[in-house]
């Protein structure tokens, strides 16, 4: 890989350079994410045709599916940051990990909540123990575990390592948990009945979904970068560059 590109990526691990770089891209990222989200919401809520089985209640899918995808994505991202911190001791990775944990937990909660709201008119019940819902519930507990250990261990460097170990163990276990829950579900459900199968969606329905997923991802990164910036200012408060920044305002 080009040495200059590698140097630039490596520089991003320093809090100061990350702060400067994110100051450049963050406003644009917010604008882009709001635009994509508005476009996706308009297309999903207004333009997509009503489902012949579920009527208009399926539209909560445009919030539920991106939230679910992002909840799993953010856990993997959190564990990757944890691994970076454990292996290479990049302090910014620790900051990144502790800032993304609440976002991921909130997204998992939104996925569970919107799933329950969707389930009531569609399946007649708020909750059912199928493979995907159970896996998402377990993901919620995995997030809560990382948050709990962060909370109990305080803000020192050891706290970051503990949470990172737990997150890495969690992500290694994630395929094991997912496959065992899937297998558990197939054992207990008669094969002919499947709650999560849906007929193929026409393009007017899944295109807004793709837009919403992109919008969620850009909003997620914008929010995460904002939180990292705030946390960096707090943890590096006694450094010169932070003081200069504060004095300039």
């Amino acid at each position: 890989m080009n040495i200059r590109l590698w140097n630039w990526i490596h520089k991003l691990g320093s809090a100061k350079h990350f702060y400067r770089f994110s100051s450049l891209i963050l406003p644009g990222l917010w604008v882009v994410s709001v635009l994509i989200l508005s476009l996706g919401l308009y297309a999903g809520l207004m333009l997509a045709p009503a489902d012949y089985q579920q009527g208009d209640s399926f539209r909560i899918m445009y919030i539920h599916v991106p939230a679910a995808i992002l909840s799993q994505s953010s856990y993997v991202m959190m564990a990757s940051m944890g691994a970076l911190f454990l292996i290479w001791k990049i302090k910014l990775a620790d900051v990144a990990m502790r800032t993304v944990a609440p976002i991921g937990a909130a997204l998992t909660f939104v996925a569970l909540l919107t799933g329950a709201i969707w389930g009531k008119p569609t399946w007649g019940t708020w909750w059912v123990w199928d493979a995907r819902l159970t896996s998402t519930l377990i993901l919620m507990f995995l997030f809560l575990g990382v948050l709990a250990i962060r909370n109990a261990a305080g803000n020192g460097p050891a706290a970051g390592r503990m949470a990172a170990i737990l997150a890495v163990i969690g992500v290694i276990n994630l395929p094991i948990i997912k496959y065992s829950v899937d297998w558990w579900f197939t054992l207990h459900q008669p094969a002919s009945f499947s709650l999560t199968e849906r007929p193929a969606m026409p393009v007017e329905m899944w295109l807004p979904l793709v837009v919403m997923i992109l919008g969620f991802y850009s909003w997620f990164f914008a929010l995460w970068i904002l939180r990292i910036r705030t946390e960096v200012l707090v943890t590096e408060a006694n450094k010169d560059w932070v003081r200069q920044l504060v004095n300039q305002r």
């Binding site: 377990i138 995995l142 709990a148 250990i149 109990a152 170990i165 163990i169 969690g170 276990n173 297998w183």
Partner: protein
């Protein structure tokens, strides 16, 4: 060094039987509570028995983790263990072995009685015992990981279930299915064995890393 740590742990456990008998009493008491809550119908109890036995075993193992690291942490022995010769993961494995010998193995030995309590006929007892034999070491390893992570924290023992329960779920699913599905033969037990080998390989490393972090606070 492994033998020394193992010997020490076994001797400590043998000298204070109350510590390791307590989770077993918990196991028996909860297994008594279940029929009281569910009703004495033998068919229902037998159907629910594998799950109930396993969930209670899970909880008993979580209860017993406190004695694994906390006392050693408080009097400085844990620091010595981390600093001493030999890899830390081997010393942690010795501790977990001793823990299993006094927690998991008694549960395996108690399992015929638990089957009788739950009205499970004696043909099921070998399967229950084998699933516990393969599964309780995994539980001990996972619980030790949780214990190592929470040993320095204020409300560590309250945090332990939150951290470790999700990781124990695959063991629970595999073990209860291994007991309840006679038609599939030994496949599920082989999967349990695979999970055991996997945990034995990787979890001691994670436990060692957590111990090093805990001691450095």
């Amino acid at each position: 060094m492994f033998i020394n740590v193992l010997n020490r742990e076994l001797r400590i456990a043998a000298r204070s039987p109350g510590e390791w008998l307590q989770p077993l009493c918990f196991l028996l008491i909860v297994m008594t509570l279940f029929p009281l809550g569910i009703g004495p119908s033998p068919g229902l109890l037998a159907t629910l028995a594998p799950a109930l036995i396993w969930i209670t075993a899970l909880m008993a193992v979580l209860l017993s983790v406190d004695r694994l690291f906390r006392d050693d942490f408080e009097d400085g022995t844990l620091e010595q263990l981390v600093l001493s010769s030999g890899p830390v993961w081997l010393n942690s494995l010795a501790k977990v072995c001793a823990h299993w010998l006094f927690t998991g193995l008694p549960i395996v030995c108690l399992s015929p009685f638990l089957c009788i309590m739950m009205n499970l006929s004696s043909q099921w007892m070998p399967k229950v015992a084998l699933s516990l034999l393969l599964g309780t070491p995994i539980l001990s390893l996972l619980a030790a990981l949780g214990g190592a992570l929470t040993v320095g924290l204020r409300q560590g023992s309250a945090l332990l279930p939150v951290i470790i329960m999700p990781l124990m779920i695959p063991v629970l699913i595999l073990a209860t299915q291994a007991i309840a599905s006679p038609a599939s033969g030994d496949a599920y037990f082989l999967w349990l064995g695979a999970l055991l080998s996997f945990s034995l390989t990787f979890l001691p490393l994670a436990i060692a890393a957590s111990l090093k972090v805990a001691v450095s606070r």
